[in-house]
């Protein structure tokens, strides 16, 4: 199977409300940034383009068409789109490169969540006959999940606050983060519940923004002469939709994806985990089998800023950057999708 490398990544700052900036304007700076990292002029210089977005964030059918306008798809491009986080666009592009039909790919994801009420919008992702009519929003579902964890005795509210505290502290070194600061566990526990047992800090903020990445075969990366990181494994698994049909205190699909991606074939220096709620980081850390040797979410993770439809790709990008910068040799990136961690993607990156 062809060896694939990540060669460029960029993401926007996470902003609570970007105002009148539209989707094209969100995407273009990130595309320009990744072109510049590789020395490319345009999307025509890669063999394949794939993006991730969600129409319901924009409130219009065909949100991805804005992306095609941002690409400047003249002459026409080999282009595809997933109505998923762009981490799954990366997955599609990896398969495309493995077929031999492409040697390189541009990926991007974007979301402008601020105009809507994100938790309510995402409630319409649930089973349309039995669950969506309840308008069971994402925060409520996550609160139920957190309650099950607490009741099982496997975590405490202090453990959740510790996740938030570390996120805020790590984010102080991340200029793109939306929430950062030196906040201790005791102070966090003083906050009122947003939706018990979740406090506002336990929930990822709503952010507007975009991220982009370029991948290529290792041969193409060498031809370009840019630093690269090998993508040695990628896998994604879904599980049952109905929250009553699975153990919400575990993430079986993450375990399956991690095993298939070869996460534990060598030591891990860094992990970037897409956990929109503090307790989910604990579930995922356990499912990924991480120990003290692995630094988790040095960027602050999505609790410090959550670019819907791009945060998963950005986790891969964060690990890429840490390895390229020499801060780590091998790392794992995780992306999630669906209510209560229904669908999970795991990618393993290693220094060249």
């Amino acid at each position: 199977m062809r060896e694939i490398a990540v060669v460029a990544f960029s993401q926007s700052a996470c902003v609570a409300d970007i105002g009148a900036v539209n989707e094209v304007e969100l995407i273009m700076p990130q595309l320009q940034a990744v072109y510049a990292q590789v020395g490319l002029n345009s999307a025509q210089d890669v063999d394949f383009v794939c993006s991730g977005s969600c129409d319901y964030l924009q409130g219009a059918a065909f949100a991805f068409v804005a992306g095609v306008d941002a690409l400047g798809a003249v002459p026409p491009l080999k282009e595809s789109h997933v109505e998923m986080d762009a981490a799954w666009a990366l997955y599609e592009a990896v398969l495309k490169i493995r077929t031999g039909h492409a040697d390189s790919a541009l990926l991007y994801g974007f979301g402008k969540s601020s105009p809507g009420e994100l938790p309510a919008v995402l409630s319409q992702r649930l089973d349309p006959y039995y669950l969506a009519p309840l308008w069971l929003d994402t925060v409520s579902l996550a609160a139920l999940q957190a309650r099950m964890l607490l009741d099982s005795g496997s975590i405490t509210e202090s453990d959740m606050a510790a996740v938030v505290s570390r996120s805020r502290q790590n984010a102080q070194a991340n200029p793109l983060a939306q929430l950062a600061g030196d906040v201790g566990v005791a102070a966090l526990l003083q906050d009122d519940y947003l939706l018990a047992p979740l406090r506002r800090g336990d929930c990822a903020p709503v952010s507007d923004g975009a991220a982009a990445m370029i991948i290529a075969t290792v041969e193409q990366a060498r031809r370009w002469g840019v630093p690269y990181v090998r993508l040695t494994g990628i896998d994604q698994r879904i599980e049952s939709h109905n929250p009553c049909m699975r153990d919400l205190t575990d993430s079986v699909s993450t375990r399956q994806a991690a095993a298939a991606a070869g996460v534990h074939e060598a030591a891990l220096d860094v992990a970037e985990i897409y956990a929109p709620f503090s307790h989910q980081e604990i579930i995922l850390t356990r499912a990924l089998g991480l120990d003290e040797a692995t630094v988790v979410n040095p960027s602050g993770g999505v609790l410090a800023g959550n670019l819907m439809m791009a945060s998963g790709l950005a986790r891969v990008g964060e690990v890429f950057q840490r390895i390229v910068n020499g801060d780590a040799r091998r790392g794992v990136a995780h992306a999630t999708s669906g209510p209560c961690l229904q669908h999970n993607l795991v990618a393993v990156l290693e220094g060249a």
Partner: protein, 386 residues
């Protein structure tokens, strides 16, 4: 370098206006169960699931792959949701094929659908957007001026669209799954139907359908079932912006590039001669002559002559029958329509197309387009690998 992949199972629902007897999941399962049975495999034999549909707003279910995972037996497996506008049915088949062609998986289930009766597509396409002119327009209103430009350029006679409308409905009458069953339709009936978007009359437009189409795509060492496989000889996708200076909306470059790419992969030199038939996305009658030219079956300006000569008609014994299944003009579950084209092309080369079979079909084109005729996906399937 790509591994060989083939269609080994095809399943479709009957297409109709309203399937109030089943849920969305139930609709998909009808197609999926038939595809699995056709391939002689069960859910345990499937390595990954690839799903596609047109905009989520068409049913009001956000990212429905989450909800559909159980019904599609996807639990514990990789799942991907493709969305590339009207071309999505074709794109989804191509992405599913890449799962096998990449050497990553042995057998993949792919399914596309639309349940238009649970929604209002016109509303979904007309939500007001900031800083944009608000349109309350369906696809017909968008494409009618482009068709008028085609007629102006080529001096095509007025009745060409009517001829296509009748031809595809007569083809559809051979296909028991087709939504519209109009075996006795006449040109006069089409001419007398209401003018919706001049020059498109009511009977020159596609219906609004509920339905799903599924396929099982397998690697060369995992062929199953009792029917011959349809070998995937080429796949291609192209996109261009909705608008740009100098854009040829009548014959988009993305379509021409996509065709050239897929023909080169399949060794097609002259599409009219080399293909035995084609399933091409024609939601409005005049798009047959337009795509005949865009896809190189006819020289520029002469697509309408093939239509009038009966070259694309199975009933007239044409040399290059188009849309023997009845095409989009006979059934249009939007998100599935592209995959139906791809699947019907495969049915032809498997010799399994029933009353709309083209005799000895060996090589067929499947085609889909979407957006403002800006997104294209195509594949070539053959009875043999070369």
């Amino acid at each position: 370098m790509a591994e060989w992949a083939a269609v080994v199972g095809i399943g479709q629902t009957r297409y109709k206006t309203r399937r109030s007897d089943v849920s969305i999941a139930g609709l998909l399962r009808e197609a999926v169960d038939r595809a699995l049975a056709d391939a002689g495999v069960g859910f345990d034999d499937i390595d990954a699931v690839v799903i596609g549909k047109a905009p989520d707003m068409f049913e009001g279910v956000v990212m429905p792959e989450s909800y559909l995972a159980d019904a599609l037996g996807a639990s514990g497996k990789p799942m991907l949701r493709v969305h590339t506008a009207g071309s999505v049915g074709g794109s989804t088949a191509i992405v599913a094929a890449s799962h096998v062609q990449s050497g990553t998986f042995k057998r993949v289930l792919t399914v596309t659908y639309e349940k238009q009766s649970e929604s209002n597509a016109m509303w979904a396409l007309s939500t007001p957007q900031p800083f944009s002119v608000h349109l309350n327009a369906g696809a017909g209103g968008y494409f009618a001026p482009i068709i008028r430009e085609y007629i102006r350029r080529t001096n095509a006679p007025e009745g060409v669209g009517i001829r296509v409308a009748v031809k595809d409905r007569r083809h559809g009458a051979r296909n028991p799954l087709a939504h519209l069953q109009l075996p006795d339709i006449t040109e006069q009936e089409v001419r007398d139907s209401m003018m919706l978007w001049d020059p498109l009359r009511f009977l020159e437009a596609c219906p609004s359908s509920d339905g799903a189409c599924a396929m099982v795509i397998a690697a060369a060492d995992s062929i199953s079932g009792n029917k011959p496989p349809a070998w995937i000889r080429g796949v291609a996708m192209r996109s261009e912006p909705t608008m740009y200076a100098g854009r040829d909306e009548v014959s988009p470059q993305a379509g021409r590039d996509c065709a050239a790419d897929v023909y080169a992969q399949a060794g097609v030199m002259d599409p009219r001669r080399d293909f035995d038939c084609a399933e091409v996305y024609v939601p409005f009658s005049w798009y047959e002559p337009m795509w005949l030219e865009n896809l190189g079956f006819a020289p520029p300006g002469e697509g309408w002559k093939l239509t009038l000569d009966g070259a694309t008609s199975l009933d007239d014994g044409g040399d290059i029958p188009w849309n023997c299944s009845g095409g989009v003009l006979s059934s249009n579950p939007i998100g599935a329509s592209g995959m139906i084209r791809f699947a019907e092309a495969a049915r032809q080369v498997r010799g399994d197309a029933g009353a709309h079979q083209v005799e000895n079909a060996r090589l067929a084109l499947g085609h889909a387009y979407g957006g403002g005729a800006q997104f294209f996906s195509m594949w070539v399937v053959g009875a043999h690998k070369n």
